[in-house]
């Protein structure tokens, strides 16, 4: 087998020449998950009265990969806390009840949902949620490995 140049970086405290793959931060002999597309945005929820509190918003992200990619979606609620989606809020007001979910529309589009799902909440004022996503080059199934 011909010699092949490799690129490896070890975690601090480890010798790159002998480190286990788990202790390498970068290893070109392995498939590193790579982000195809990342993005962020803000969703504005309008004020609602008690008993009329459902509202939903969606964002389509066209990635045009032609297959189902792995992805991560994060949501920041008005309390400043960031959580991974899907997130299921169960509070009694819109800002604490707001939830997120995803649909794989087809092989080229992901749809992110942000919604207040309970019709019977207290009234709430307008608020915003922020989101950030990463869509990987790597598919969600049958990824290559060395």
């Amino acid at each position: 087998m011909a010699k092949v140049a490799v690129l490896k970086v070890a975690k601090r405290g480890y010798d790159v020449r002998t480190a286990n793959p788990k202790d390498l931060t970068i290893d070109s002999t392995k498939n590193q998950f790579k982000v195809h597309r990342g993005g962020s945005g803000v969703i504005s929820f309008e004020a609602k009265t008690a008993g009329n509190s459902y509202q939903g918003h969606s964002v389509d992200v066209v990635h045009n990969l032609g297959y189902q990619p792995a992805f991560l979606l994060f949501m920041k609620r008005p309390d400043g806390k960031v959580r991974l989606s899907p997130y299921l809020g169960t509070g009694s007001t819109g800002p604490t009840n707001v939830s997120s979910g995803v649909a794989r529309v087809d092989d080229n589009t992901l749809r992110f949902y942000f919604y207040v799902w309970d019709l019977f909440l207290d009234a709430y004022n307008a608020f915003n949620v922020e989101y950030k996503y990463f869509i990987f080059v790597d598919p969600n199934k049958n990824v290559w490995s060395s």
Binding site: L72, L84, D106
Partner: protein
């Protein structure tokens, strides 16, 4: 991106100059998520993460410490956890009852537009790009293996004194530690509850033309007829896709009778192969849960395996129940990254 130096490495057998992005091992033109820290907590509380901005994170449940069983936490105060990060802390909230710990995987990547924190690595060489995409001081997700794991669940009927049935399967990794894996779906999901909520989300009332329908959306058509159709694929409706009538309706809809229990008995799990990867898109519409029978799936890693465990429970409130046979599929990726050992690359 022309004019910008880029390091690319293709997988073995592929030419870096021509390989598709999917067949690259590494490329500095891509953002590589930067794992900065693994932190384990055995009780609720907040731990300073050491960054001056709000980062992103994954949380995992340690279902058992001996033997180690670790899977992802679904973020919901209703269910198993409510963990989060903010501008100062990793917030471990509501360690699930019976779990031995929660584990946070903290990324250095900011939620906002801040620069990635640059730790001092004592003058050691660093490979990084100036735009926060790539930094070799942080750990990356490195694929160990990938494939599809299938669990064939046979029909089972409860009997006197036997209210629970467990079936499982696994794939070996033999890394001798617990690795991260994908998909990032909950370690524990009641499919009985999930599908009840799922069908409520996908209830589109009656059919209409020029309307977008997603996979699994369902309509009652004609209206109030008691006849239901389930969407087979994403489409925008037209006269040719009108359920039961249009020239090509069979390509887009299936009569509900062919899906056992759907949708007349909300909560029923469809009589088809269950794709666990679809649990990435959990969406809830308010509704109760059938409490008398339950089918729950567990997905977790151990020091040697990735496991699917399928547990069926019958309260026997209405006699002995028969649970149908099912085929459960999980497209998985196991990473080299170890999750059952703390580290902190921010220090």
């Amino acid at each position: 991106m022309s004019g910008v130096p880029n390091i690319k490495v293709a997988r073995s057998g592929y030419d870096t100059r021509t390989a598709s992005n999917q067949n690259l091992a590494l490329g500095t033109e891509f953002t590589i998520l930067k794992i900065a820290r693994i932190k384990r907590a055995t009780a609720d509380g907040s731990v300073p993460h050491g960054l001056s901005y709000t980062p992103m994170s994954l949380f995992l449940r340690e279902l058992s410490s001996s033997p180690k069983q670790i899977g992802y936490a679904l973020t919901s105060p209703l269910l198993d956890s409510n963990n989060s990060v903010d501008s100062s802390n990793i917030n471990f909230e509501k360690v699930a009852t019976g779990d031995s710990a929660v584990i946070a995987v903290l990324f250095a990547d900011p939620f906002g537009s801040e620069d990635v924190f640059r730790p001092n690595f004592d003058g050691r060489p660093v490979l990084k790009t100036g735009d926060n995409r790539f930094d070799s001081r942080y750990d990356s997700l490195k694929v160990f293996s990938s494939g599809t794991l299938t669990l064939n669940v046979p029909e089972w009927t409860s009997s006197a004194g036997v209210v629970t049935n467990t079936v499982s399967t696994s794939v070996s990794h033999n890394l001798n530690y617990v690795p991260l894996f994908a998909p990032f779906i909950p370690a524990q999901t009641s499919l009985t509850a999930y599908y009840q909520w799922y069908w409520q989300w996908h209830n589109r009332s009656t059919w209409a033309t020029s309307t977008e329908y997603l996979f699994d959306d369902y309509v009652e058509y004609p209206n109030s007829s008691g006849t239901f159709y389930v969407s087979l694929q994403h489409h925008t409706s037209s006269s040719s896709t009108e359920p039961g009538v249009g020239a090509s309706w069979g390509n887009y809809w299936i009569l509900s009778e062919t899906l056992t229990g759907f949708p007349g008995a909300p909560g029923n799990i469809p009589d088809r192969d269950i794709d666990l990867n679809s649990l990435e898109d959990v969406k809830i519409v308010y509704g109760g849960v059938s409490a008398f029978v339950d089918e729950t799936v567990y997905i977790y890693a151990t020091t040697t395996q990735l496991v699917i465990k399928y547990v069926r429970t019958d309260t026997q409130a209405f006699g002995y129940s028969t649970f149908p046979a099912r085929t459960v599929n999980l497209g998985y990726t196991i990473f080299y990254n170890r999750v059952d050992e703390e580290f902190n690359l921010l220090e």
